[in-house]
Each structure stands twice: as C-alpha cells, then as structure tokens.
C-alpha cells in the first residue's frame, strides 16, 4: 500500500461552461492507497472534476495537484502518473486487444521487456489473455471495460481514475469489475478515484465525497456518513404499541416514530444495542429488525431528495454542454 501522503490535492477548484457552474469551489484531498469515490447524480460535476484532474479540461479557477504535479503547468508528468477509464469506451475497436495495449505502451514509452510481462499479467487479471488476438469490435461491453482497466494500468500509474466504471453493465459484470478493482488495490500500490451514481458501489470506497450541483456536500467514510444520519434504524412491532412507546421514551430516552403500527427509532449501533434491549424490554415484542442507513438515506438527508429523482432539464443541458467541451 502506498504511503498516506496526499496523492490528489484540490483547492477551490471551479469550472464554468458559460453561465453554468459545473464545479463550484471544490476542495478535497485523496490519500495514497485509498479508494476515493465521488457520488452524486448525473450532471453534478463528477466527470468535469475528473476531466480537470486528468488534464483534459482547464479549470476556470483554483488549483489541483495529482501525485504532486500541477494539472495545468505539469501536464505531462500528471499524464504519466494517472490511468483512466472513461464513461464511454475509448478503444480502437478495429484493432485487437493486444494492438490497443501496444499502442498505449508505445505512447507512454514503456520498455519492451516490461511491456510484454505487464501486458500478460494484466490481461490474465481481467481474464482476456485468451482473447488478446481478437478485434475489440467482437467484445461485449463488460469485456471492453475490463480491457480498458487493464490498459489504464499498463504504465504503472499512481492513481487510477474510473469514471462510472460500471455504467451500462449488467449486475453480474458489475460485480466482476468490482472484484478486479478490489483485487488491484491489494496487488498494486494504487490509489483509485472513481465516480458513481450507484449507492451500493459507493459502499466499497474508503471515503466518499458526495457532490451535488458542483459542490461537495459531505466527505467521509461510508460508515461515518451513515452515522451522521443518526445511527441504525430499529423497527419493532409490539403487542401494545402505546406501552412500548412510553417505555422507549422513559427508559431509553429515544424518540420513536410510529407508522402503520411499526415503531421506528435511531440508535448509534444497532447490532450491539439489540441483544440487551430484547432481554430487558418489558413490553411484549412481536417482531424487531435493524437496518443500517444506506447512502441513499445520507443523500436524502443532505440534499432533501433521492439521488435518482432529479429534474432532467438543467442537467441534460449541462451534460450536452460538457460533451461539447470534451
């Protein structure tokens, strides 16, 4: 695992597209060796931030360092330090997997002996070694994404950027892509910076920045973010609901909410709370369950809406604009 220095440093970063502020004075740091996630709805500014960090876009203002290099003044050094997997495929489909990787190796000036060894190693990791002589055109969406991950790692980058790495893939393939990502972290001295709008994927990150309308609204580990919601959610059903509520209020100093006969309340650590509670609770219990809050609950709490329900007009407009600037 890499040392814990700040591998990515972003200070007051902004990007405007005309009137639209896609990224609004964003500041954060990514530690070496961690999986850092950007979570937010489409059009929140995730891809724009990645594009700035990988030197494809110039920021309107602010500063960003990747591996200690400035993304504006030291583009070449930044480019050598990073690997990228974009939302949309960036492979030459008319070439074979091997030819695509060779191109990448030449472009990054990787010596021949290292190239051969590394190519085999990575293609075996993503289980494409047997298909290396096939044209990419014949690959499925998941295979292409795997090949791109292998390609992004060919030149031993310090940071691997994954922009929505599993977008448009079926659940099974998504899981496999994640297996590779987690395996990579074990094997390589690698920091992974990814964006996603899937809550369940964000759970895999060490730390998450929740981004909305170009601003970071929260940044912490998934567990801590969920703790901020107010701990775990316990729901119970009692024979006598009134008595149960009274007891919860008096003996436990909790603020239960009742809905359809279900009594729900927050406790910091549900699993450890439950055994003692069941033993000592006087009212007769019919059922009880405990649930960790999801990142969805976190997002709703922070922004007042769920991640998927969003007004389309402005965001689509923004997305189209950003495509125009790619």
């Amino acid at each position: 695992m890499a040392d814990r220095t700040d591998i990515v440093e972003v200070e007051e970063l902004s990007k405007n597209f005309g009137q639209l502020t896609a990224v609004d004075r964003v500041s954060f740091k990514v530690n070496g060796g961690e999986i850092f996630g950007f979570l937010g709805p489409n059009g929140a500014g995730k891809t724009t931030t990645i594009n700035i960090l990988c030197t494809l876009l110039r920021p309107t203002s602010g500063r960003a360092l990747v591996n200690g290099y400035d993304v504006i003044k030291q583009r070449t050094q930044v480019r050598c330090s990073i690997g990228l997997v974009f939302q949309d495929p960036t492979l030459d489909e008319y070439l074979t997997a091997e030819q695509n990787l060779n191109f990448h190796a030449y472009a990054y000036g990787i010596p021949k002996d290292i190239r051969r060894k590394r190519m085999r190693e990575l293609l075996e990791l993503v289980e494409l070694w047997d298909r290396r002589k096939n044209r990419v055109r014949t690959y499925s969406g998941g295979m292409k994404r795997r090949l791109e991950i292998a390609r992004g790692l060919l030149h031993h980058p310090k940071v691997l950027f994954l922009d929505e790495p599993t977008l448009g893939l079926d659940p099974q393939t998504r899981r496999r892509i994640w297996d590779y990502i987690l395996a990579l972290r074990q094997q390589e001295e690698l920091t992974i910076f990814l964006t996603t709008h899937y809550m369940d994927e964000a759970e895999n990150c060490d730390r998450i920045a929740i981004i909305d309308y170009g601003r970071i609204v929260a940044l912490d580990s998934p567990d801590k973010l969920k703790d901020n919601v107010g701990g775990d959610l316990v729901s119970l059903k009692a024979e006598n609901t009134e008595a149960a509520i009274a007891e919860l209020k008096e003996s436990y100093h909790l603020e239960p909410v009742t809905e359809n006969g279900m009594v729900t309340f927050n406790v910091p650590h549900g699993e450890t709370f439950l055994p003692d509670f069941i033993r000592s609770f006087n009212s007769h219990l019919l059922s009880i369950s405990v649930r960790r809050p999801t990142l969805d609950d976190v997002f709703i709490k922070l922004t007042g809406r769920a991640i998927r329900e969003q007004e389309v007009g402005l965001r689509d407009q923004m997305r189209t604009m950003m495509k125009g600037h790619r």
Binding site: L57, R58, P89, L91, D92, Y106, A107
Partner: protein, 268 residues
C-alpha cells in the same frame, strides 16, 4: 522533444495499422482518380489530341492523376481524427503524455505514407499511358509526393480539428476537394484560360504540386519533340521551376500544419 517524436511515431504507427486492416479504403482511394483517367482519357484523347507537341491528353493528365490520388488520401486523413473523436479513441490519445504537435504530425506522417504508397502504385500504369519511367525520375518523385501529401494532410487535419461528425467532415471535404481538383490544372493547362479561372487556379496550392510532378514526368517527352520546354505555371510572367513549385507547396504545408496544431491544441 521525446514527447513529440514518440507522438509522431506512435500515431503514424496506428494510422498504418488501421489502413492495412481496412481493405475497402485501399481500393476506394484509387477508384476516383482511375475513373477520371480512364473516362476522361478515353473520351477526350481523340478530340483534344496533343495538348502540346509530343504530349497527348492522357499523358498530360497522368501526372495530375497521381497528384489527385495523393490529395484524396491525404485530405481523408482528417477523417480518422473525426472518427477517433466520435468513437472515443481520441481521448485515449489526448490523455497520453504526447505533445499535441506530435499527434498532428503523426497523423499527417501516417497519412502521407499511405498517400505516397498509393501514388506509387499508380506508376504501374505508366507504360499503358505511354510515359517512360526511369530510376532517377522515380527517386525525384519521392520527396515531391511526401511534401505534397504532408501539406494536404495538414489541410485535412485542420478541417477535422473541430468537426464532430464524419458526415459533416465528408461534406466539408467534398466542398474543398472538388474545387482544388478542378482548379489545379490536372485537366487543362492553366496558363491559357479565362482570367477568373486562371486567378483561381493560381491561388490553388495543388496547382503547383501538379505542375511539379508534370514537369518531372513530361519534360523529357515534350523536349524530345520540340526542344522547347512548355510546362510550368507562369505567375506574373515568371515560369515556375520544379523547385519553386515545391517551395510553394511546402510553404502552404507549413502554414496549414501550424494552424492545425494550433487548432488541435486549443480544444479541450
């Protein structure tokens, strides 16, 4: 500097790799020039007869057809830029540690290699057309075609540097290619035409490329019968030599190439 050289070579390498795999392109890039040569040649040869003493129409047109093949292949190099943008591969190129100038030059170098090779394949026709080849001529032809194709590739990439769809690019290229071809003296000598046509032809850089190749091929043929040298575009009363022709093409090439690099670097 390494970022420039690596850029040139890796991009050119891929262009060639792609070309070899696209067999249809190899055929199609010959189709139009050949069509012109065969149909115009057959149709006009008897009516027009000798354009100048000792040189009949098909012989006159033949060097121009070589230039035209080079033109078509070179300008179409821009298509691969648009193609890459459309299919995302351009991003892979742009985030690599390669200089923007190297990328543009690499595209041009790859296209030029293909264009020169295609131009050379047309030399097979020379016995049928009735133009005699000798090793010296062929050797001299190489740098001429290289300069011509690099310049025209620059033009193609310049057009492509901001285009987002292949259809759009094809459309613009048609609008550029056809005037270039018809106003280049491939089909008629430009010294003896109405003034408007003469002016348009003489600001067309391709005219000088065609003229250089034609002088190279036909100087011998014409001189053999008349003893007098009859080709060479005249500009303000001055008859261009091969070297001057090439210089004009090269200057044009440097300008469009710099513009292409500038335009390509500015985009994000």
């Amino acid at each position: 500097m390494t970022a420039v050289f690596r850029g040139v070579w890796v991009i050119a390498y891929r262009e060639l790799l792609r070309f070899v795999q696209e067999r249809s392109r190899i055929v199609s890039s010959f189709a139009m020039p050949l069509l012109f040569l065969v149909i115009f040649g057959a149709g006009f040869n008897r009516i027009i007869g000798a354009v100048t003493p000792g040189v009949d129409f098909i012989q006159f047109m033949y060097p121009g057809i070589i230039a035209m093949t080079v033109l078509m292949n070179s300008v179409m190099s821009g298509l691969s830029v648009v193609w890459d943008r459309e299919f995302g591969f351009l991003k892979e190129v742009l985030v690599a540690p390669l200089s923007r100038g190297g990328i543009v030059l690499g595209k041009a170098a790859g296209a030029a290699t293909v264009a020169v090779a295609q131009g050379f394949i047309l030399l097979i026709l020379s016995p049928i057309v009735g133009v005699s080849l000798n090793p010296l001529l062929v050797i001299k032809l190489v740098p001429m075609l290289i300069i011509l194709s690099l310049s025209l590739s620059g033009l193609g990439i310049l057009v492509a540097s901001r285009m987002r769809s292949q259809q759009g690019f094809q459309l613009i290229v048609q609008l550029i290619i056809f005037p270039l071809i018809f106003l280049s003296g491939i089909f008629f000598p430009v010294n003896n035409v109405p003034v408007w046509l003469e002016v348009l032809s003489k600001v067309n850089p391709l005219t000088y490329g065609v003229d250089a190749i034609r002088q190279l091929f036909l100087a011998g043929e014409a001189a053999a019968t008349t003893g007098d040298f009859v080709f060479g575009v005249t500009v303000f009363g001055h008859t261009m030599s091969i070297a001057e022709d090439i210089l004009i093409v090269a200057v044009f090439g440097v300008i469009v190439m710099l513009l292409a690099i500038w335009s390509f670097s500015r985009q994000e």
